[in-house]
Symmetry: C2
Subunit: 336 residues, 2 copies
């Protein structure tokens, strides 16, 4: 699956900036892939891109129309159908991060066939996968892991890719979630594969490569999240990481959506991730800690990060607030 870029980003009629986080992520990380945006009446979110119709976007080189906002229930609202059909008729592929599959709407399938365009359901994974082999492979890999869900693993991975490239390293982001897949134009939604194939999917997205090539793999969930830890473990084994970057939110009291589960201690989380990762890469090491400190004043955040750096002997940073160059440099020095 390679989603043709650049994109026309469809914002629908969302009024809440959070609902547009996919579109915003694509625009933030790959502005060069965004030809324009399109919204419906009532939409209160803008990315500041030129407002284009599908036909105008096509004229300007757009290849895919991206449904870049979530809506309650994950269904395609009836009143979006006209716009999607317009886009197909204008010759654009459609990519959707909604739960409801485009390919389950016979009308869209027929129209897409007629206009020779593709439908991409990035929350779902169709192609057959192999089970993981655990066989050592060439190239370097760094995986983001976390104390919980939603602690910035995708952001950290993308920021690290950029910082490593700035240092002249051959770094490539590997996507495992829907927004990441739209940003990269490729990847596997790892939580949507059949459970037998989790590590196989991770091996597939980060194949053998040149010795000086780095895959920066987007992590998912946490080994300490009772709902999703299986996904995290399969991803950890299949990624065969040389380095881990631990992601965390400062002060988060409990595991996301589970108030009865206090958040794991960072120490235990680092330990268990390294312990498990050794199964497929005995040389795995921690390379850094990436913390969302946004709920704390700068001085407190800095003190906390200094404490983590001291304790784990790797750079700890808030990649939004203070950048992630320190972790990229750490990786550069490890291999030189």
């Amino acid at each position: 699956m390679q989603i043709p870029q650049p994109y026309l980003l469809f914002l629908g009629d969302v009024t809440d900036p959070l609902s547009a986080k996919t579109a915003r992520g694509i625009h933030a990380w790959r502005p060069e892939t965004c030809v324009g945006q399109m919204h419906l009446e009532g939409c209160q979110v803008s990315l500041g891109l030129p407002e284009l119709t599908p036909a105008q976007a096509k004229d300007q080189g757009a290849k895919t129309f991206v449904l870049g906002t979530a809506n309650a229930g994950g269904y395609i609202p009836e009143h979006w159908m006209t716009v999607i059909k317009d886009a197909i008729e204008a010759g654009l592929n459609i990519a959707s991060g909604l739960h409801q599959k485009l390919v389950d709407v016979p009308e869209l399938v027929a129209l897409a066939k007629q206009h020779d365009v593709a439908l991409f359901d990035v929350r779902h994974h169709q192609p057959a996968l192999k089970v993981g082999s655990g066989l050592p492979r060439s190239g370097k890999r760094v995986l983001t892991v976390g104390t919980d869900c939603a602690v910035g693993k995708m952001y950290t991975s993308l920021a690290l890719e950029a910082a490593m490239q700035k240092l002249g390293m051959k770094a490539e982001f590997r996507a495992t979630g829907q927004t990441g897949i739209l940003v990269a134009g490729a990847g596997i939604p790892i939580d949507a594969v059949v459970s037998d194939f989790i590590s196989g999917a991770a091996e597939w997205i980060s194949p053998a490569n040149d010795a000086d090539h780095w895959d920066v793999i987007e992590g998912q969930g946490s080994l300490f999240h009772p709902s999703y830890a299986g996904v995290s473990l399969g991803l950890l084994h299949g990624s065969q990481p040389d380095y881990l970057v631990m992601c965390h939110e400062m002060g988060r009291p409990h595991t996301r959506h589970l108030p009865h589960h206090p958040l794991v201690e960072m120490e235990d989380c680092v330990y268990l991730n390294l312990y498990n990762a050794r199964l497929t890469n005995p040389n795995v090491q921690l390379a850094g800690i990436s913390v969302n400190t946004s709920n704390y004043p700068e001085e407190e955040a800095k003190a906390y990060l200094a404490e983590l750096t001291e304790k784990f002997q790797v750079p700890a940073t808030d990649s939004v607030r203070f950048g992630i160059d320190a972790i990229a440099e750490f990786l550069l020095h490890q291999v030189n």
Copy 2:
């Protein structure tokens, strides 16, 4: 999903007893659910059951025709179709452990509808699941775990259920694989669910129950198998076990199908399973070790089991050779 019992076991035309292991497992553990067997010309396997046609079996109370043998590729051979159609026309439901789904054959779907019978694809899971909650629930649960795949987790679970029932305990086998599901008539093929729902599926098959009720949950894979560990971890978290029984094959040199992966040390495997299980049940304990010693002489086997008993301070046994009563009694005494 509840598969109506009793069964007519279809043996096809297999010549290799191993290929009939599903049928043999059902017959071994639930002989009362087997009205008869049916084979095609050339079949060299027999369970010693009366040979019946679908119509005869129906007359004798059979409710479901079970495709109880595997064949290369997992497809339904063309020459089995006539027999399957006969069975549907005789008014039997069909249950299959093949990779190819019965419900993907329009001819069978139509015929089943016409005769008001159901098609069960036990390798696949259709109903919607919820993600795991990790919330504590009532009842007692024991989960079989292992140093590897194919070390006797299903056998151990079924043997333990029988031994516990013999001691008057309310024990119930919970199936997570295809043979287990056919034996129990219900369950979820845990390696076939979407990875987001592994622990949710485990919660679903072993719901809250009476304080003195025991679910004996069939484990899958191993935390140390690089292909399947994600499944094992989700199952461990979702099962919320009070007790673990570690399964192992004496002398196995490396992880199944992965000659480059030496088998984990028992000590490390017990440790990591308990460590992870504590996430959803802080009181989890090891209750016993179940070892396949069949490749060793009896004296060597006994010496090895004695060593394990001494080291882990729980009963270690070969449940085929020496029975599993010791582990059932250990569990009985833990709660009394």
